[in-house]
Symmetry: C2
Subunit: 216 residues, 2 copies
DNA sequence: TCATAATATTAGGTATACCTAATCAAAAAA
DNA sequence: TTTTTTGATTAGGTATACCTAATATTATGA
């Protein structure tokens, strides 16, 4: 019978994403992201180790080459799903994450190809993240968080590292979407907000939020 | 946590389909269709009974009103998925069944609506079967098997009660698709084939195959 | 009617993936 | 350095959905 790898895929996907923040991923961070208990994750990580998909370093869990390869396949399916949802079915960018997170496990390689083709082989998901190609290559643009720009500096939004629908909805309402130009007018002291200018309007943006927005 | 009803959905879907052939569905027939052992099905049917989705009559398993309602939801998602695959992603009618059978469990009510709308609220799947509406209403056309037509009688193909890709591929190669007109030229005796005329060409069609093709 | 065959269910077991409570180990604080 | 806190794992358990082998039930047909 055909195995159901959806849990394995979900773990690898999470590990891949979390390692972008800090390299070896801790059990607790992974458990938090997957909304599972630490022992559950601990146990599953052991199984993934047995399958040669992850290994344990000093500081935490790392993906093996096989694990990385599978993770990128899942991420490709996830991001293509998001594009299908926005470009063809008319979803907003804040509505697609959870749907795509289920769809990604129900998509065959055949279907993945067809979606990519039908969409004209898109390079990024609606949040600006690169879609790995069939071989697992993905182009990471050199970016920095909006929060690191200095006063009077400009940047173009590349992507938004955030999956919370409310946050995304909020950002969309300010017009802060990929490819949009943002200027930091001034930076309030003592960890205060950034005053940014987007399409002629000025907004005060918290540091936390600004750090999720990556610009070039 | 959100429950995974995919197995429940798969059982109800099968029961619904099989009961169209013969009303109360036997455990063995169900096991065969689901490609599972009889004891597995026996056990699962007991669980479905506990959930109030099916009940046991003399002759076999029947859907309760709740069961029928859920089954029709699954079938709606299945058939909309098939249409998405053919109409938007360019699949052939013989390639969609298995893909749709996985997709149908990963589609939210929200997404179901969006697919239906994007496709212009189609009335049937690529095989000619009606797509139940949101409320579970579905229009069954009055049809009979092609095998019951008499010599020289004509009919229009309404649907094909078959999910085997090879059979569907074969029928498509003869141009035998929904809405196509077929004329039975003659019927060979002793259970022999039907000689049919489709779009000017004549073909010999086995009785078994002809009984799967429903015409009006 | 009685034996045979088909169907359904029970019994007992496996794999997967989750949980809480308890324990162990490492890091940070006192 | 000893204590406390945080983090990870072990121990023991549950739910779900599958399996094979054995048994029971129902039909069929000789
Ligand atoms: Mn996911
Ligand atoms: Mn995305
Ligand atoms: Mn199905
Ligand atoms: Mn169909």
């Amino acid at each position: 019978m055909e195995a159901d790898n959806s849990r394995t895929e979900e773990y690898l996907e999470s590990i891949y994403k979390l390692q972008q923040e800090q390299h070896p991923v801790s059990t607790s961070r992974l458990a938090e992201h997957l909304k599972l208990s630490a022992p559950s994750v601990s146990e599953m990580v052991k199984k993934l180790t047995g399958k040669g998909l992850v290994f344990h370093s000093e500081k935490g869990v790392c993906l093996t080459d096989d694990g990385k390869s599978l993770a990128k396949k899942v991420i490709r399916r996830h991001r293509l799903s998001e594009r299908l949802l926005t470009d063809i079915l008319g979803y907003k960018w804040d509505e697609v994450h959870d749907e795509a997170c289920k769809l990604e496990h129900a998509i065959s390689p055949e279907m993945e190809d067809r979606i990519a083709e039908s969409l004209g082989n898109p390079k990024t998901c609606p949040h600006g993240h690169p879609i790995p190609d069939k071989e697992g290559n993905l182009v990471k643009e050199k970016v920095k968080p909006l929060s690191e720009l200095k006063a009077r500096e400009k940047g173009i939004i590349v992507n938004v590292f955030e999956e919370d629908p409310n946050m995304l909805k909020y950002l969309a309402s300010l017009g802060m979407l990929p490819d949009v130009c943002v200027k930091v007018e001034e930076i309030a002291p003592f960890g205060g907000p950034l005053i940014v200018c987007v399409a002629g309007s000025r907004y005060a943006l918290g540091r936390e939020v600004a750090s999720k927005i990556k610009v070039k």
